[in-house]
């Protein structure tokens, strides 16, 4: 494979970075994290109209830009570095990837264009009280009703579930786990925001009570669809984690050069210098893992399941380690609310657990390489 990004990809990175510096600086991230919605609809619209971020991996036949997962990874590395809040991740990394894998032409034709146009905010509701990221965790019941279906039960930890226009719900029918599309405003759907540790990424609890739903794909056939979604989402999250980890390293190195104790920059102490060097080692390794995984996703390689779990487990730990070391290198100031270090720490811890923690992914990896 070729690890070098093309000039177009580099240009995409630059324009996303400029956009985020301009429209989502840390002051905005902090303002929005205190709000219930957690994002600015005007910025969301611009992300769609100016940059087309929501359309990146949607094929042109569904109104998308038809780029690959590599472009998406480039974008998510930047949004992860900037701690962009809001529904980009669930919309593109969860709902879009699930729809693309669902094999239901009608559903794709109906639902993808709205997402690609930036008009539909979408998410996937998979996890329940158990917090499990596999099909065994799905107990929410779906039953046929007239020519459609209804859902009863509840979902937990649904990213941006409190305001999404479209929720793809994993539910159990007589035939097994199936995927359903539910409108955000559907009757019998109660949405409650959860107090997230990482305030820049919102979650909700969704309660379904005879909620009308549309079956997406075959009844009982959501297993492979969700499996593919989870692999691609793991790769997407790994890219975000790389962006965040790099920022932690940058902050640490800047501070180590300017903070003076004992009449010397603290970076002149080997204890700190070696910490920074270790962070670099891990950030660079994380990049290699995330980029390789993005390439495997773009190429639709057979390796995807292996490298997705490999990247998710490695990048999760690299990010959290970088975020924790960043606070340590900053000393007292790193423990304050006013400093940004804690925002990365909270994002890193939450991302580590989102989609399954590193031990879970290492177990998947072990299975997938035949152990």
């Amino acid at each position: 494979m070729n690890f070098a990004f093309s000039e177009e990809q580099e240009e995409l990175r630059r324009s996303v970075r400029r956009f985020l510096e301009d429209r989502s600086p840390m002051t905005e991230v902090r303002r929005l994290m205190e709000t219930e919605e957690g994002f600015d609809p005007a910025v969301w619209d611009q992300m769609g109209n100016q940059l087309g971020l929501q359309s990146l991996i949607v094929p042109e036949s569904y109104g998308g830009a038809g780029f690959t997962f590599v472009e998406l990874a480039v974008v998510l590395e930047e949004t992860g570095g900037a701690l962009l809040g809001g529904p980009l991740f669930p919309t593109v990394a969860l709902a879009t990837t699930a729809l693309l894998a669902c094999g239901d032409e009608a559903a794709k034709a109906d639902l993808l264009p709205g997402i690609a146009a930036g008009e539909t905010i979408a998410t996937v509701a998979l996890t329940e009280d158990s917090g499990r990221w596999d099909l065994d965790g799905v107990t929410l019941a779906a039953a046929p009703s007239g020519d459609g279906w209804t859902l009863d039960g509840h979902k937990m930890f649904v990213l941006d579930g409190h305001h999404a226009d479209l929720v793809l719900v994993a539910a159990r029918t007589a035939a097994g786990v199936s995927l359903f599309a539910v409108e955000g405003e559907a009757s019998g759907l109660t949405r409650t925001s959860l107090p997230t540790m990482d305030q820049t990424r919102k979650q909700a609890r969704l309660e379904f009570s005879s909620t009308p739903a549309r079956l997406v794909g075959e009844d009982g056939a959501a297993g492979p669809v969700l499996g593919r979604m989870l692999d691609l989402a793991a790769v997407a999250l790994a890219a975000e984690q790389v962006g965040g980890a790099q920022r932690c390293l940058d902050m640490s190195v800047d501070y180590a050069k300017t903070r003076i104790q004992f009449g010397r920059p603290i970076g002149s102490f080997q204890a700190i210098k070696h910490k920074c060097a270790d962070m670099l080692l891990e950030v660079e390794s994380a990049k290699s893992a995330a980029y390789y995984a993005a390439w495997a996703a773009a190429e639709d390689s057979d390796e995807l399941p292996v490298v997705a779990s490999l990247a998710k487990s490695y990048c999760s730990e690299a990010y959290f380690h970088a975020a924790a070391e960043n606070i340590q290198i900053h000393g007292g100031i790193g423990f304050t609310w006013e400093h940004d270090a804690h925002l990365y720490f909270k994002r890193a811890k939450s991302s580590e657990l989102l989609l399954g923690d590193p031990a879970y992914h290492r177990e998947l990896l072990a299975q997938r390489i035949g152990m």
Binding site: M197, Q203, E338
Partner: protein, 416 residues
């Protein structure tokens, strides 16, 4: 365990949840039970085990623990080691019965790890000293009547010689305490701006110019405390005249943990974590089992280490450093295994999560213990240089006058 006092009998006769905190703490202090490990006349010279029995008996009844915080943890042992008889007699009883709250005015914006680089100065004016400077990260400063404060009294002396240690009255004109919000969302620490504030000469602890030696006692006690040496029933009531807790019923604080919680990962908490893993059906997971067993082991070792230290068996001179470094490891491990057991539940805070939010608080507080009381890096330097006798890092000769040393500049802070 037999003691000269029947703890249960005493508690039966004295614990009353309707008693005001003030009165309850007075009873504890009069019975020399606020800090029973101290020598008489303030304590009973109990050992760790006897004190643990008391804590158990109090916890069983839901009795409010003795006053906690900087006064108990740091000011009392420092005063007892270095204070004049007069100062000890006026200040120590007021700490033991909770009538005064204390804070630690050591760190400054430019003097954290390099504490002896402090710039706050104190100048003699007759029977008083006049103090000017800025302190920072002052835990519970907003509730304090007094602060243990170190200031430079002789800039011509060498860095460590020109420092003096004071029992400093905080509530006076010239002292402004501004809370700082922590990453946990709470504001326990503060910045303290001091402008021409006054402290009587009689409040100097130890000798003028010998404050660094006195501070070393405080830092040693602090390391030991963070390392787990303190044993006391929990008390969320804040001592002193400022917080307004003294007139509330002692029973109204329940078993909530103190504002400054030293033993974040006790044996009890390890058990709670094992129970949580059992409830969440995570005990069959080999990685969870391994980490819980590792954590259990480290917490046991901490207990034994402290006992060995008490017996004079472990005498490298670095006991406190070892205990504190060990604690940083334990906290990080507990944080990581708790997150693993909770999974997605760890990403949501508040009382509705499994464990009632305690583990999320641990996650958010986990970066602090490796910073406060001297960072992990500083502890390692001390172990390397003072315990193992390894050569020091190159630097100016130790007798260089403070004035002649390069100053620690402070990078600009972001807008608040």
């Amino acid at each position: 365990m037999t003691t000269e006092l029947d703890v249960d009998q005493w508690l039966d006769a004295n614990w009353d949840p309707d008693l005001a905190v003030r009165a309850w703490w007075q009873r504890l202090a009069e019975a020399r039970l606020s800090a029973p490990m101290l020598a008489p006349p303030y304590g009973r010279q109990w050992d760790r085990q006897q004190t643990v029995e008391l804590v158990r008996a109090m916890t069983r009844r839901g009795a409010l623990g003795p006053p906690s915080g900087i006064g108990m943890m740091l000011a009392v042992p420092t005063l007892l080691a270095h204070g004049s008889t007069e100062l000890v007699e006026t200040l120590v009883p007021r700490i033991l019965d909770g009538s005064h709250g204390w804070c630690q005015l050591f760190s400054e914006p430019g003097a954290g790890s390099d504490l002896a680089g402090l710039l706050t100065r104190a100048e003699r004016d007759g029977d008083e000293w006049v103090v000017t400077g800025q302190k920072v990260w002052t835990s519970t400063g907003q509730y304090a009547d007094y602060g243990i404060l170190i200031a430079r009294t002789d800039p011509d002396a060498s860095k460590h010689r020109g420092i003096t240690y004071f029992a400093f009255p905080v509530r006076q004109p010239g002292v402004e305490v501004r809370p700082l919000r922590e990453m946990t969302g709470r504001a326990i620490f503060n910045e303290v701006f001091i402008e021409g504030a006054r402290v009587p000469h009689a409040n100097v602890i130890g000798q003028v110019g010998d404050g660094w030696r006195v501070a070393s006692t405080t830092l040693m006690v602090e390391r030991m405390g963070i390392g787990g040496a303190t044993v006391a029933a929990p008390s969320a009531a804040v001592p002193g005249t400022v917080a307004g807790h003294l007139d509330r019923p002692a029973g109204s604080f329940g078993q909530a943990r103190p504002v400054i919680d030293e033993s974040m990962v006790s044996r009890q908490r390890v058990r709670a974590l094992v129970d949580l893993a059992r409830q969440r059906a995570r005990l069959a997971d080999a990685t969870v089992r391994q980490d819980l067993a590792r954590l259990y082991g480290l917490v046991e070792i901490t207990e034994w280490h402290l006992a060995r230290m008490k017996s004079g068996q472990a005498a490298t001179g670095g006991e406190g450093n070892v205990a504190k470094l060990r604690n940083s490891d334990v906290v990080r491990l507990a944080r990581d295994v708790a997150a693993r057991i909770l999974g997605m539940h760890a990403t949501v805070t508040g009382p509705d999560t499994p464990g009632g939010g305690m583990w999320q608080e641990l996650i958010l507080f986990s970066p602090a213990p490796s910073i406060f009381g001297g960072t992990d890096q500083v502890q390692r330097n001390v172990v390397g240089e003072r315990v193992l006798g390894l050569p020091r890092e190159p630097g100016p000769p130790p007798d260089t006058p403070f004035r002649a040393l390069p100053q620690n500049t402070v990078p600009a802070r972001s807008e608040r």
